[in-house]
């Protein structure tokens, strides 16, 4: 395992790790507020149109949604596992686990594409071809506007996360991380888990309303 020196502004590797981790948590806080603005919009319109939103949510594909949630939860598990492996010097298993986690991200995106396509075919895309035969189509349009913006942004974060994971996977496989130096994998893992947490909430907001009627 190569010995690594901390960057010049740090006293030691421990400080560097601590700083990197804090920095990522600050970044995660900014992301919470970024998606948070969207959540406000959703909350306001769901409050204003409870029935419309329920009706709209019923048109989402809960099978794909639930499957995707399970996929992300599993990939988070693999990433967490990989971090512990890398920290105990198990570079190769860590690299493989991260690679599989990234692959699960690909599966997530693939299912998302299928879902988007079916929504396009059903004329549920506001601004493109939206048309529903409902007494009051406006709230459904607002719901799907939220749906596409939220899941689209989330998918963008998944893509970025996947690229980061694959890069880190290669580094881990090459044995770059150890019990002394593992800041990059900690930080990348935090980002990926955050992407998972966002989806946990989006799943509840998008796929679950209105199912009981």
């Amino acid at each position: 395992m190569p010995e690594t020196q901390p960057a010049f502004q740090f006293a030691d590797l421990r400080q560097q790790h601590d700083v990197a981790q804090l920095g990522m948590w600050v970044f995660i806080a900014t992301e919470v507020l970024f998606f948070g603005g969207l959540i406000l919009a959703y909350a306001v319109y769901r409050f204003g149109y409870p029935d419309g939103f329920a009706s709209a949510a019923r048109r989402t594909d809960i099978a794909i949604g639930a499957t995707n949630t399970a996929i992300l939860l599993t990939s988070s598990f693999l990433v967490a596992w990989a971090v512990t492996a890398a920290r105990s010097g198990q570079g190769r298993p860590a690299g493989i686990l991260l690679g599989v986690a990234a692959l699960l991200g690909v599966v997530f995106l693939f299912l998302k594409c299928i879902e988007y396509h079916s929504e396009y075919v059903e004329h549920l895309v506001p601004g493109l071809n939206f048309s529903v035969s409902d007494r009051n189509p406006a709230p459904i349009g607002l719901f799907f506007a939220f749906y596409f913006v939220a899941t689209g942004l989330h998918a963008l974060h998944v893509i970025i996360g996947m690229i980061v994971l694959m890069f880190i996977a290669i580094q881990a496989y090459r044995g770059r991380y150890s019990s002394r130096y593992h800041a990059p994998i900690t930080v990348a893992a935090l980002y990926w888990h955050f992407v998972d947490v966002v989806w946990i909430f989006l799943f509840a907001l998008i796929y679950l309303p209105g199912r009981s009627s």
Binding site: Q9, V26, T30, V32, F34, G36, G37, A41
Partner: protein, 536 residues
């Protein structure tokens, strides 16, 4: 004569500047950028004031006038005021003040500058191809449905620049928490750092909401998704809630660093410790936090509920308290101090007076009944210019002059600087005080055609503006001159106590020759005014 090695002389190739990770060089890159945008925003202001000399719309058409005040606002707010002190003076001074070799994330710092410049050029391109006419506030549904201007392009520029803000704030927060020199406890931090920390909280938590707001605006305009369109169930006021949730705390992003600088200046030029240090420190945090509770005071007449108006009005009165605490503590600091009227002190004194006027008129506006009368009039315009220009820009110039010896290794010409400060003060008041009167008389904002009885005040304001414009050009010349011909500065020309003054002017690349150890509180001046540096 051999050249002393410092961060400026180390390597002078273009790539060493454009690929630098040295916080001091990034600060100078930012200085160049914001100066450029300041003069662009100022050019728009000049045309505005030119138009307003006569009651008729004779210099520009209404459409062009709309684009002028919009671009003045957009450029000044996002490309000058928000980054100015944090990204220039903050970037330069923070690591020096805490005894560190650089910020926590130097490469992120450089990235932040590139994002800033990219955002700026995208916005300028939007201006170049015709500009926008929505006002800097981009209210819907005009911006999403009816405006015939380059809205999406302009908000894209601002969106990109927002990430620059976030990264700067992130860097400062982590740096101040974790890179302090041994012995530098929180209560030994200079107040400039407390202010920048509070500013960074806002940068990091408010800006993302702006990002989402602008994204939704762009999507609504481009795809017609109807999020803010009443005909499709949307609420235009939702945009305003989202927009002002950022934009009100944003004004505290602009003023808090200025307050931090004033704390430093008042202390040095009174040769006294800041009175009520802990109160001043925590008031910065209080302003940052409570500043998030008041955004609805921009929406008193927009259609939000009366109850919400009440809550926001009350919170707006509360948020004035910590600011007042600072003003009283600054005054108490000067009491029985040994005052020197160097140019930075002139700026600090001007700040205290002008900020107080601006802040008090903010209380007028926080009062619901009064706001109904003066909202969207020149009263509001005068109020925020007193704080932004009379407050923040004044503090910025004060800080720039104060740290100029440290940044460039040269002293500026003192008498020119004092003359400019006095001229700025005079020009500023002549420009903006008549605007309070105009507002009370009923002159609406964003109008360029007005009843003839208002002309005398507008003429006074425009004459003031021309004086102000010339006054702002003065520092460009004498500071530029000082760069090459100014007297060489010692490490501590002001005999101040901060760590930044315990290293040569300009500093070496890694700031300090050896690890600094802090042993005493900040602003430790003895009764006779002798300074005891923090690491002594």
């Amino acid at each position: 004569m051999t050249t002393v090695r410092n961060y400026l002389t180390e390597d002078n190739s273009l790539s060493s500047w454009f690929f630098t990770t040295d916080h001091k060089r990034v600060a100078i890159l930012y200085l160049a950028g914001i100066t450029l945008f300041f003069f662009i925003g100022g050019a728009a202001a000049t045309l505005i004031r030119l138009e307003l000399v006569t009651p008729q719309g004779d210099v520009v058409t209404s459409d062009v006038y709309n684009r002028l005040f919009t671009i003045h606002g957009v450029v000044m707010v996002w490309f000058f005021l928000i980054p100015s002190i944090p990204a220039t003076l903050g970037n330069f001074v923070v690591p020096l003040m805490i005894g560190a070799r650089d910020l926590a994330f130097p490469r992120l710092n450089l990235t932040s500058w590139y994002l800033f410049m990219l955002g700026g050029f995208v916005t300028l391109y939007a201006v170049f191809v015709g500009g926008i006419d929505t006002g800097w506030t981009f209210y819907t549904p005009f911006s999403t449905m009816y405006s015939n201007s380059h809205v999406v392009l302009a908000v894209t520029g601002v969106f990109i620049a927002g990430f620059s803000s976030i990264l700067t704030g992130l860097n400062f927060i982590v740096t101040i928490h974790r890179l302090r020199a041994p012995g530098l406890t929180w209560y030994r931090l200079p107040l400039f750092l407390w202010s920048l920390y509070a500013t960074s909280i806002i940068l990091v938590l408010a800006t993302p909401v702006l990002a989402m707001t602008l994204l939704l605006l762009a999507l609504d305009r481009w795809f017609g998704i109807g999020i803010f369109d009443p005909a499709r169930g949307g609420d235009p006021l939702l945009f305003q809630h989202l927009f002002w949730f950022y934009s009100h705390p944003a004004v505290y992003i602009m003023i808090l660093p200025g307050m931090g600088i004033v704390s430093e200046l008042i202390s040095v030029y009174s040769r006294k410790a800041v009175f009520g240090y802990k109160f001043v420190a925590w008031s910065a945090v209080a302003i940052a936090v409570v500043g998030f509770f008041v955004w609805g005071h921009h929406m008193f007449v927009s259609g939000q509920s009366a109850f919400a108006g009440l809550v926001f009005s009350f919170m707006s009165f509360i948020v004035a308290v910590p600011s007042a605490i600072k003003v009283f503590n600054w005054a108490a600091t000067m009491h029985k101090g040994w005052i020197r009227f160097d140019a930075p002190m002139l700026y600090a004194l001007a700040f205290i007076g002008l900020f107080t006027i601006g802040g008090l008129t903010g209380l007028f506006l926080a009062c619901l009944a009064y706001d109904v009368y003066v909202t969207d009039t020149y009263f509001v315009v005068a109020h925020f210019h007193y704080i932004m220009v009379g407050g923040m820009v004044t503090a910025y110039f004060g800080g720039l002059h104060y740290w100029w010896p440290k940044i460039t290794g040269r002293m500026y010409p003192e008498y020119w600087a004092r003359a400019a400060a006095i001229l700025i003060f005079f020009g500023f008041n002549m420009t903006f005080f008549p605007q309070f009167i105009l507002g009370i008389l009923g002159m609406p904002r964003r109008y360029h055609v007005y009843p003839p009885e208002f002309q005398v005040w507008h003429v006074m304001s425009s004459v003031g503006a021309s004086i102000l414009a010339m006054a702002y050009l003065l520092p460009l010349f004498y500071l530029g001159w000082a760069l090459f011909f100014g007297k060489r500065a010692a490490s501590n020309p002001w005999q101040a106590t901060g760590l930044e003054w315990q290293t040569p002017s300009p500093p070496p690349v890694h700031n300090f020759a050896s690890t600094v150890e802090v042993r005493r509180r900040p602003y430790d001046y003895s009764v006779s005014g002798e300074a005891r540096p923090q690491n002594a």
